[in-house]
Amino acid sequence: MDRNRLQHQVACMRRSLFDQGYLDEPFIQLEELQDDANPNFVQEIVTLFYSDSARLIQNIEHALNSRPIDFNKLDDYMHQFKGSSSSIGAKKVTNECTVFREHCSAENAEGCIRSFQQVKQEYAILRRKLEVYLQMVGQAAVSQTA
């Protein structure tokens, strides 16, 4: 693909990720930390976010399936997930984590189960979009050095 066209596509995709509310300010900070000394910083951080999130999602699912539900443990897990998702700028995921924690405070099991589905959905959507975006960023970087 033509280099300029590829870079234009990357820029458009990036703008839409922010305009549609999937990403927020902290992601910009990650991008600014990427330089010649740390050329893969964003990908490394995002990959770490994926593995950390998978662990937390599994823990939350296990806690939700336990009887009786330990709402304190649930809240701790979601607190961690909110922390990591907000640190990467995953705005929609962070917002859904907040909703979940409100249901947790109220010890509303049905609400927790419903909102957890939303958390997982938003996380899956973000992950798909980020994978595509970062793949294109990588292709654009290769085309620049070619």
Binding site: R14, F18, D19, E25, E31, L33, S84, S86, S87
Partner: protein, 153 residues
Amino acid sequence: MAPAADEAKSGNGGQIQRPFTFNEIVLRNRLTALVVDGDNFCRLLQQGILQAYGLQTQTVDNGDAAVELIASGAKFDLILIDMLLPILDGLEATRRIRAMGVNCKMLGVTAFSGERERQAFLAAGVDLFVEKPLGPEVLIPILRELDGQYPSI
């Protein structure tokens, strides 16, 4: 190379006003930092951010390890500590660190956002309560102060 930061737009389509960017500070001195966070991702992210600024940064994943490290004589210019920590929580760890006579800058960096949590963390001894994520608008002025780039008041 990362896309230009000013291409980012807010949700309403406007430009995000950014008073600080990460590359706006150059440290003259070799500063040291300790990151205390039980979450692997947040710990490594904060370490990465501080190292990018040029701070020599250590990390531990629980409050007890933080207290032990400082009790062993390790000195830091800056400590970032989370509230929710395994083994020994951030509040008690902060109290014990301060009780040892440690006066360095301590930031309570946490996903908690309530006033009750803020007051508790400040009462425990942190200098500043910061809701995650820790951004340059908070960190850069502190680093300048620690580096002596601002006159002390």
